[in-house]
Each structure stands twice: as C-alpha cells, then as structure tokens.
C-alpha cells in the first residue's frame, strides 16, 4: 500500500517538477549570461496555452503524427516513473531496470523520429537522421556505465543498486566517478543540450530535437515539450539517485522521511540544474560531426571504469 502511495506521489512530483525544472535551468542560464530571463514557471504557462490551442496538422501527415506525441509522452512518463526520486521502495521498483529504462527512452526516440519523417519535410528528416546517429553512440556508452554497476552491485536493477550503495558495499571508487562522467555525457546527448544540440535555437542547421517537431502544434507540441522536460528530469533524477545516493527515504510508510527526502531531492535537483546551467553557459555548441568524439569519450570512460574494476578486484 505504502509502495503504491510512494509511486503515485513520485509520478505526481515528476509531472509537476518537469516543466519547472526546464524553466529553472533557462532562468539560471539567463541570469548567468546577464539577461533578465523568463519566469521559471514560463514552461508551465506555455504548456497550458498550447493544450488549449487548435492544432494544425500538415496536409501530408498520417496517423503517425497524431499518435506519436502520445507514444513519446507515455514512454517518457513510464521511464520517469521508474527512476526513484525522494524515496526507495516504490511499487514499480521491481521492474525498474537500467536496460528497460534504455528501451523506454529508445521507444520515445523512435516515436519522435517517425513523427519527424511523417510529413516529408527536409528538416524533419535531417533531425531524425542526426538523432539516430547520436543514439548509436549514446546507447553503448550507457550500457558500459550500466556494466560498472552490474559489476559493483551485481545487478542492473535500480533498486538493487541503491540497496548495495546503502549497505556501503560500493564505497567511493574511481570507477564510479568515471561512470558518472560517462552517464552525464549520455544525459547531455539524450536531452539535446549544449554542446550536442542547442535547446533554445530554431537556427535550422544546428538543431536536432527541434527539427523533428517543427510541424507539431497545439497539444501535440505540448506533449513533445512535456516529454522532453520529463526526460531531462528523469536523467537528472537518475544521476542524483546513482551518484548522490544519500537522503532518500527508506521503503515503507514514512511521511516524515518522505518530507526530508523531498527536501534533499529538491536540493540535489537544484544543484544539478545550477551545474547544467553553468556548464551550458561556459561551453560552445560543437559541430555535429564532433559529437561522436564527445560520446566516444564517454564510451571510453565507461570502458575504463570497467577495466579499473577488473584490475582492482585482482589487486585487492
């Protein structure tokens, strides 16, 4: 019962937090760059406005354009409901596995790629081709990061990893640091952030994510934006859960522990949002064909993390 309650609270939190987090990162970025910036609640207001607007569907669009936003959002929400935020022991914890998470993210990617192709415009196809080629580098990097956990904690289930961490079996390891770097690079690529893609631009030649949803409008656009916001939130929550694993409420009914966990989770997300805003302000967007180097470095870091583990278990 308490597991279901935690799960419901978690999903509500993710849904409420996602647009806010996007707004917060934009706000922080604007302030760091010396601009006034929109209010952090602006993404929420945008969503509310878009849902009420009449969607215009392109003449050549098929049912894919109408179904894909729902599929993309459902995949993002399903993935977000698997990543723990303020408490452990949620109802879906048994199925929360890093590989399933990767699969759900891939499903969302497939939805947006198909939608990008559906109308037959130049930019949609361009963005889709780039998105899929980035994913070919991001996915092995994510798997290698998962391998570090599979070796250290003996499992790829998020709950199992957290349990192993709380038992103190993992300790502070260089491998975890390398895996964290690899996962951050994947997170940046998956969320179309600088330096891989620029979330604020509509300059045709640099965009990947935006190019695929150029034809979407009204509630479809709202769903795509909400899905993107959920993805950013779930990645930050995943990084927080795996690499800043403290302050989470234990499984079971613990309202006070939940409140404390909520506060600590909010602090972690704020810190990650600050870090993301600072990183994005400090770095320039890279050429599309340098992205493989960026993600290739992530892959190498993941590989190195596993290698160090193999060697260290031999020395110990």
């Amino acid at each position: 019962m308490s597991a279901l309650l935690t799960q419901a609270l978690h999903i509500a939190l993710m849904l409420a937090l996602a647009p806010l987090l996007v707004g917060l990162v934009r706000f922080l970025k604007a302030r760091m760059q010396g601009r006034q910036g929109p209010h952090p609640l602006q993404p929420w207001r945008n969503l509310a406005k878009l849902v009420r607007k009449r969607p215009v569907l392109a003449e050549g669009a098929s049912w894919i354009s109408r179904a894909a936003p729902y599929a993309g959002f459902a995949a993002a929400l399903a993935a977000a409901s698997l990543v723990p935020s303020f408490a452990r022991g949620m109802a879906f914890a048994a199925m929360a596995d890093l590989l399933l998470l990767a699969g759900l993210l891939a499903l969302g990617r497939a939805a947006i790629v198909l939608a990008g192709h559906d109308v037959g415009t130049a930019f949609g196809g361009l963005g889709a081709a780039r998105e899929m080629s980035f994913a070919t580098f991001a996915e092995p990097a994510l798997l290698l990061a998962a391998a570090t956990f599979a070796i250290l904690a003996g499992t790829t289930a998020i709950e199992g990893i957290l349990a192993a961490i709380q038992e103190g079996g993992l300790g502070l390891r260089i491998s975890l640091g390398l895996a964290a770097l690899a996962m951050m690079a994947v997170a940046i690529a998956e969320n179309a952030r600088i330096p891989v893609d620029n979330p604020a631009t509509h300059l045709e030649l640099t965009m990947v994510h935006e190019a695929m949803i150029l034809e979407a409008s009204g509630r479809h656009l709202a769903l795509w934006e909400a899905a993107a916001a959920l993805r950013l939130t779930l990645w930050l929550a995943l990084l927080a859960a795996l690499f800043l694993p403290f302050g989470m409420a234990p499984p079971g009914l613990a309202p006070l522990g939940w409140l404390v966990g909520l506060g600590i989770f909010a602090l972690k997300m704020l810190a990650l949002a600050l870090a993301l805003a600072a990183f994005e302000s400090a770095i320039a967007k890279m050429r599309v064909f340098r992205v493989p180097e960026f993600l290739g470095a992530a892959m190498l870091l993941g590989l190195l993390a596993a290698l160090l583990l193999f060697v260290s278990t031999r020395l110990a």
């Binding site: 199925m95 596995d97 996915e139 994510l142 391998a147 590989l303």
Partner: protein, 664 residues
C-alpha cells in the same frame, strides 16, 4: 511422433514432382507449403510440450548408413520456427510463378525440415545440401539479368564452400566416435586440436550459410534477387537452420567439457557480424538489400549468444549459460517472425509501387494502411523496442553480456566488456536502419508517380502479415512462456533450464527482471491518462493546413507531391552514420564536383560505399582461383613417367601419414 513429419515430407516431395507435371497443382504449391508449414509448426510445439526422444532408423539409405531421424527439443524449437515462417511465406507467395520455382519451393522446405530432423551426420548433410540446391533454383528462378546471375553464382560458390567444410568437420567428429549417429557422436566429443579444427570448419561451413562476417558477401545480392516469399524463407528460416547446425554441432554434440576458448571465436565473429551488418543496413539504398544486411546483424547476435553460452558453460556458470542460450533461441524466433513480415511487406511494396529502391518510394502509409501498420510492428520489433519480441530477446543477451565478468579470466572479462559495447552499438545501429527503412518507404511524400498510385496488398498477404505480427506481439509479451516452451532445447544446449516465469524474464543472480505486461500496462496507462487529461482540458479539434517546413513556399502545380529535392533521400539519411562510422568496416566515398566559376552547371555530390570484402577480397580470391586453375592445367602436359609418379607418390605419402598417425 515422427510419422506425421515424415508423411508431410513425403507429401512435399510429391507436391514438388506433381507441380512439374500439372499446372493446376503448380498453382496450389504456395497453399500446400503453407499447410505443411502449419503442420510442422504444430508438430514442433507438440514435441516441445511432450518431448519424445525416440530415434527412427529408416530401412533405406546408402549401405551401412541408414537414415536416422529424431525430433528432440532443439529440433522441435527450430521446426516450430521454420514451420511458422513457411506458413506465412506460403500465404504471402503469389500463385503464379515459373514452374521450376513452384517445384523447388516444397523441396526447399523439405530440405530444411530434413536437416532439422536428422539424427545422423549423413542425413544432416543430405538435408543441408537439398536445402542449398533448392534455394539456388529459387534464387535463379526469377527473371534473367546479369545481377541475378552474379548473385546466383556467388550463392552457389558459398553453398559449395559450406558443404566442403561441413563434411570434414563431421568426418573428424565421426572418426572419434566410429559411427555417424548423433548419440555416438555425443559420447565421443572432440578434444584439443581436433576440437579446434571442428570449431573452425563448422564456423566456416555453417557460418557461411548463416551469413557470418566475413562470409556474408553472398547474402545481400541473393536476398535482393529472389522473390519476396523466397527471401523471407531464406532469411528467416534457412539462416536459422544454419544456426541450428552450428548449435547442434558445437553446443550439443561437442559436449559440455570444452574449454573457455571454444566459445570465443563464435562470440567475436558474432558481434563483428552484428556491427558490420547493422552499419551496412544503414547505408543500403535498396529495401531488400537493407533487410538482408539486417539479417546479418541478427544472425550475428544469435551466434554471439550461442558463443557466450559456450563460454559460460565452460566456466561452470550454468544459470548464465542457460540465459545466453535462451537469448539465442528467443532471438531466432523473434527474428524469424519480424523478418518474414518485413520481406513480405517489401514484396508487397515492390508489387504495388514497382520498386525496391528507397528513393522511388515514400508516403505509402496513405495508400497501403494495413501493410504499413503491420510492417510497423515488424520494424519496431526489429529495432529492439519494448514491449515487442526484439527487446525481450536483446534484453536477455545484454544481461548475459553484463554478467560476462563473472567468468574469472581477466582476458575474457575484457572481451565481455568489448562485446557488450559492440552489441549495444549493433542494436542501436539496427534500430536506426529499421526506422530509416520505414520512414523512406511508408512516411513522407511519394517520390514517384508509381508510388503515389500504389494499391493495398492482397488479402492473403495481409493475413500472413497479421500472423507474423501476432506472433511477434505474443513473443514480446510472454517471452518467459516461450523460454519455458523451449526448455527441452535448452536442456540439450546447456543441460539446464533458464530462469523464467511465464510472464517475466529474469537474469540469474543479477536480481534484474523484465516484465513486459507490466511495461505495457504502464505505457498504456500513461498514454490514456494524458489523453483523458487533454480531453478534459477541452482541446479543440484539429484542422489541416499546408506543411510549415520553416516557411518554404508551396511547390508549383506541376509538382503535386512537392519538390522531391526537399525531401530526404536514402543517401542523405545515411550521411551522418556514413561519415561517423563508415570508414573502418566499409569503404565510403563522398565526392563533391564543383562547376567551374561562371558555369551555370550544378555542383554534384556523389556518395556511396563498398564492402571491402566484396570489392577487394572477392576479386583477389578470383585471381587466386584462376592462377590455381592455370597451375593445375599444367598437369595435363605431364609425361607418362611423371603421370605415373604422381599417384604413386601421393599413395606413399598417404600411407606414411597413416603409419605416423597409428604410431602416435
């Protein structure tokens, strides 16, 4: 138990013979193949549920080599798979075809089934050869062209290579056992150097049939040349029969006492094939060649799973070995179903829109809604997306690779991590290739008038697609149930059952689970929830308008489907991956030709790729063959004395070899 498949085999041979005599029978050959396929599938399922390990010795065959048949767990699993593919392909096949093709179709199926049912080495080889020759006729059988002849000749050469390797492999195994029966072979597993030779020969022999890199060069042209239902049978069923031979010889007959290195070549070549095939699938511009390259990828993953199972078994990690072997079996079933669907859909598109070239298709989702929707199921399964069959199978394989570190050897741990990265790369590349295929064929605007006027596929073909889609969904939702069904096969492969409930997959000792039904429930709940919320917000109905396309002007009236140049082309979609990953495994070219200053001629960009094995290795092999032939030609001009000395010398050398072997 064996009476029914034997009767079906005889009926198929009769059907083949009669179709040569009577045109009326020839018209009904596809139907007969479908019925036989359904029968084989049912028999396979029955044999999996109630295994019956009896071996039949038939009273004919060469002297001393009676034909022995058996239907054990491993045979039954692949019999079910081949039967399902034959059912779908028979439904989707056109009734009218050249008569030699109609005659070869039942023989092809009979050859595959005979390979699966064989319980001795000679019958296995006979079935394998019947399968190769019948499929050669089917590849040649279409219309005559130089491409086709090249494809058929290459196919025949590789078929000859595979039998030239399988015969000595089986000979080496039988030499130790003293009999050709599988039971005797199992009692005397090869050891040491002999085991290495057997491994290498089987890898080349069965691997070339399965399209293992670097022996895959025959596969794309042959699959592209054959008619769609034949491609489906070859790609989905025949390559699986090759995988079966490999699993039978290396996992079952070679015994569980093999060392760790025994599985490594299989694992390495499997991963390399998967990456190379998936990469090439992203660059191909012909729908059926693309699908053939994706077959190379999937067979690579299947063989890698079997190789991993061998390694785990050698390290006494039997739970992991069962998981890896189960991944191989599930991948085989999943691939058989979605690849049949995709080849049949490609055939329907060729029929309706007149082309296999991606650059001549597009927008068919409007004209062929059923085909498009059912092909989408296959595409999503092939892309390894939850909750379909591809994801469940790949989940098991990746969990197996994630557990590879449990084998204590440091070198193997490194190999396991590299294989994990390679498998991830292959899976992601495969997804990109499949989405590109669907987008080019079914989405966007029509690229030719013919594609704009396409008609929906006929009803039997849609029924076949419905069947494959249904099984794909079923395997995706109940992978644990199918693994439990395959338990007799796993018992032969790794002498143990996989850990799986009926509703979920589990990775042993890793405490990771995959429950597809829950994942589907979660996805549906999320989708319906947001739909209901949007409904409640009172969202207005849609309107249609011209595409925004960043403000591009509407095309002139003489271009009813818009300017074709503003839609991505097959080469254009391939460009990022061609530049990022193309170079080490393939030879890619991008040539920009600028018009001289002042000239109004357009600048041209020409992009392409070549498989180095095709463009470099094959010509080199052909030169070597010519040189060898020229050298052997000189034997004709020997004097009488030399001509007598040659066989005498060979005889003495052979006798010396025998004496040396005896003395050891």
């Amino acid at each position: 138990m064996l009476t029914a498949p034997l009767l079906l085999l005889i009926a198929l041979c009769l059907l083949s013979g009669l179709s040569l005599v009577s045109p009326a029978v020839a018209r009904h050959v596809p139907l007969g193949v479908a019925v036989a396929g359904a029968g084989f599938a049912l028999l396979g399922i029955v044999a999996l549920v109630a295994p019956d390990p009896v071996v039949w010795t038939l009273p004919f065959g060469p002297p001393g080599l009676p034909v022995r048949l058996a239907l054990d767990g491993l045979s039954a699993w692949f019999l079910m798979l081949v039967g399902l593919v034959a059912l779908a392909a028979g439904l989707g096949a056109p009734a009218a075809a050249p008569r030699r093709m109609q005659a070869a179709l039942p023989l092809f199926l009979a050859g595959m089934v005979m390979t699966l049912l064989a319980a001795d080495a000679a019958t296995l080889l006979a079935g394998f050869e019947a399968m190769s020759l019948a499929s050669f006729i089917l590849v040649v059988g279409g219309q005559d062209s130089t491409d086709l002849r090249l494809a058929a000749r290459r196919y025949l050469m590789f078929a000859a290579l595979s039998v030239a390797c399988l015969v000595p492999a089986l000979g080496l195994m039988a030499a130790g056992a003293g009999d050709l029966g599988f039971a005797a072979l199992r009692r005397a597993p090869p050891e040491g150097l002999v085991a290495a030779c057997v491994m290498a020969l089987v890898l080349v022999g069965a691997g070339s049939k399965a399209g293992l890199w670097p022996l895959h060069v025959w596969l794309p042209p042959a699959h592209a040349a054959a008619p769609a239902h034949v491609s489906a049978l070859m790609s989905a069923a025949m390559t699986k029969v090759a995988a079966y031979v490999l699993a039978r010889l290396l996992l079952d007959l070679a015994g569980p006492a093999q060392p760790l290195w025994f599985g490594v070549p299989l694992l390495v070549l499997g991963i390399v094939s998967a990456v190379a095939g998936a990469l090439r699938a992203n660059l191909e511009e012909d729908a059926k060649r693309l699908l053939a390259c994706s077959t190379i990828e999937n067979l690579g993953l299947i063989l890698a799973a079997f190789g991993l199972a061998l390694c785990f078994r050698a390290a006494d990690l039997s739970a992991f070995a069962a998981m890896a072997a189960g991944a191989g079996l599930l991948l085989a079933l999943a691939h058989a179903m979605f690849k049949t669907a995709l080849f049949l859909a490609a055939g329907a598109v060729l029929q309706a829109a007149g082309s296999r070239r991606l650059d001549a298709l597009g927008g068919l989702i409007h004209r062929m809604p059923w085909t498009a929707a059912l092909a989408l199921v296959g595409v999503l399964a092939a892309a390894g997306l939850p909750p379909l069959s591809g994801f469940a199978a790949e989940w098991l394989l990746l969990q197996g690779l994630l557990g590879a570190w449990r084998v204590g050897d440091l070198a193997f741990q490194l190999l396991g991590i590299a294989a994990l990265a390679g498998a991830g790369l292959a899976v992601a590349l495969g997804a990109a290739a499949m989405l590109r295929l669907f987008a080019m064929v079914f989405l966007g605007r029509p690229r030719t008038p013919r594609a704009a006027g396409a008609l929906e596929a006929p009803a039997p073909l849609r029924a076949a697609l419905l069947l494959t889609g249904f099984v794909t969904l079923l395997v995706g939702l109940f992978p644990g149930g199918f693994l439990a069904l395959g338990a007799p096969a796993l018992a032969l492969l790794v002498r143990r059952e996989a850990d799986a409930g009926a509703l979920a997959l589990a990775a042993p000792e890793q405490a990771a689970h995959y429950a597809p039904l829950l994942a589907v429930g979660l996805l549906l709940a999320a989708g319906l929830l947001v739909r209901a919320l949007i409904r409640r917000a009172g969202a207005p109905a849609l309107v249609r308008g011209p595409a925004w396309d960043c403000g591009f002007a509407a095309p002139p009236p003489d271009l009813p489907f818009g300017d074709p140049a503003t839609q991505p082309s097959a080469a254009g979609l391939a460009q990022p991956l061609r530049r990022m990953l193309g170079q080490p495994l393939l030879v890619v070219t991008e040539v920009v030709t600028m018009a001289p200053p002042g000239s109004p001629a357009p600048a041209r960009l020409e992009a392409g790729f070549a498989d180095p094995l095709e463009s470099l290795a094959l010509p080199a092999l052909a030169t070597a063959r010519d040189r060898l032939a020229a050298g052997l030609d000189r034997l004709r001009d020997l004097t009488l004395r030399q001509a007598l000395m040659l066989p005498f010398g060979a005889l003495v050398a052979l006798l010396a070899l025998v004496a040396w072997l005896e003395a050891r």
